[in-house]
């Protein structure tokens, strides 16, 4: 079975590297970006099954990035990371096509379960 390809985008470089390693240990193929332009570049260069995106990022925020990605890749499911103070933003992201959102600090088992649900939805849509 092919490994699911994840793009993880968060401006917290430490969080991104630790979480990417934890997801890799669970069998995912993970690429990371700490800014919106870096994420856009990776999306141009490669294929992904699931996008994980922090809502609050410097410059181009997660929601704006989500809207830009959804225009080009409407089939790519996105899971949003948010804080308690920005749940309303995440709910707006859901209206704009995000698959689901998780409130930080995120439990890795919850994230893995959400990734599989998101990938399952993508496969259903592709059939």
């Amino acid at each position: 079975m092919e490994r699911l390809r994840i793009l993880l985008v968060d401006d917290e470089a430490d969080l991104v590297s630790a979480l990417a390693e934890r997801l890799a240990l669970r069998g995912f193929q993970v690429q990371t970006a700490t800014s919106a332009p870096a994420a856009q570049q990776l999306l141009r260069e490669g294929e992904f099954d699931v996008l994980i995106l922090d809502v609050k990022m410097p410059g181009t925020g997660g929601l704006k990035l989500l809207a830009e990605i959804k225009q080009k890749r409407p089939d790519l499911p996105a899971i949003l990371f948010t804080g308690h103070g920005s749940v309303a933003d995440a709910e707006r992201g859901m209206q704009e096509g995000a698959f689901d959102y998780l409130v930080k600090p995120v439990q890795v088992d919850d994230l893995v379960e959400t990734i599989y649900r998101a990938a399952g939805r993508k496969m259903e849509l592709e059939r």
């Binding site: 917290e12 969080l15 240990l25 410097p58 181009t60 804080g83 930080k104 995120v106």
Partner: protein, 217 residues
């Protein structure tokens, strides 16, 4: 009774709430990172228990990373504590340089989220002034927010504090598309309250600036 007092109180509370929200955002990030490092340590220990040789250099690095995040969170809490204690009501005197440095550090995340930079130029020596430190914090915040609201992504808001003869001068400036100086003058005058100084706002050659001058004691 001053009829403006309820509005003033609400604005002061809103300012405190906003800083508290920024600090909580920062601490949440710190805790999230610590959580991921702790989880990764647990994963690696689990692998070692299954027979995979432990990479001690990696474990030591992860431990150092957790300590670094604890230091980051502690510094944020200390800054927030200094911010909060400015409202204790003591008006005998305080170090303006330390107050502006602390506030600028607390606002870095807010400015960064807007895609801009906050550049603070502060003197090495202390600048003792008298007045209400909380009101002054609010005033400097409003000045920074005023300039920030008019910036494009990638631009900078500059905070400069320097002694000028018997006074301390705070200048907050940045490039701007338009004026709005009158509105800000009214806002900052209302927030100035206990600050015993003069405030000037200006927009010239595409640069917005707000200058606060206080006597040094």
């Amino acid at each position: 009774m001053n009829e403006d007092a309820p509005d003033r109180l609400r604005e002061d509370l809103a300012f405190c709430g906003l800083i508290a929200a920024d600090v909580s955002h920062e601490l949440r990030n710190v805790l999230s990172v610590i959580g991921e490092y702790a989880g990764l340590l647990d994963d690696l220990i689990g692998l070692a228990e299954q027979g995979k040789p432990a990479d001690y250099a990696k474990l030591r690095k992860l431990s150092a990373n957790i300590a670094r995040q604890v230091k980051r969170g502690t510094e944020t809490m200390e800054r927030f504590s200094r911010f909060a204690h400015a409202a204790d009501g003591q008006t005998s005197g305080f170090d303006l340089a330390a107050l502006v440095e602390n506030l600028a550090a607390l606002l870095q995340g807010r400015v960064s989220l807007a895609g801009c930079r906050l550049e603070a130029e502060l003197p090495a020596q202390s600048l003792p002034v008298r007045g209400d430190p909380f009101a002054l914090q609010h005033l400097v915040f409003l000045s920074i927010q005023w300039v920030l609201d008019s910036l494009e992504k990638g631009e900078s808001v500059r905070v400069k504090l320097l002694p000028q003869g018997p006074a301390a001068v705070i200048c907050v400036s940045g490039p701007a598309a338009g004026g709005g100086a009158d509105r800000v003058r009214q806002q900052v005058a209302a927030a100035a309250g206990g600050c015993q100084g003069t405030i000037e706002t200006a927009w010239a050659n595409g640069i917005l600036s707000l200058t606060i001058t206080l006597p040094i004691h």
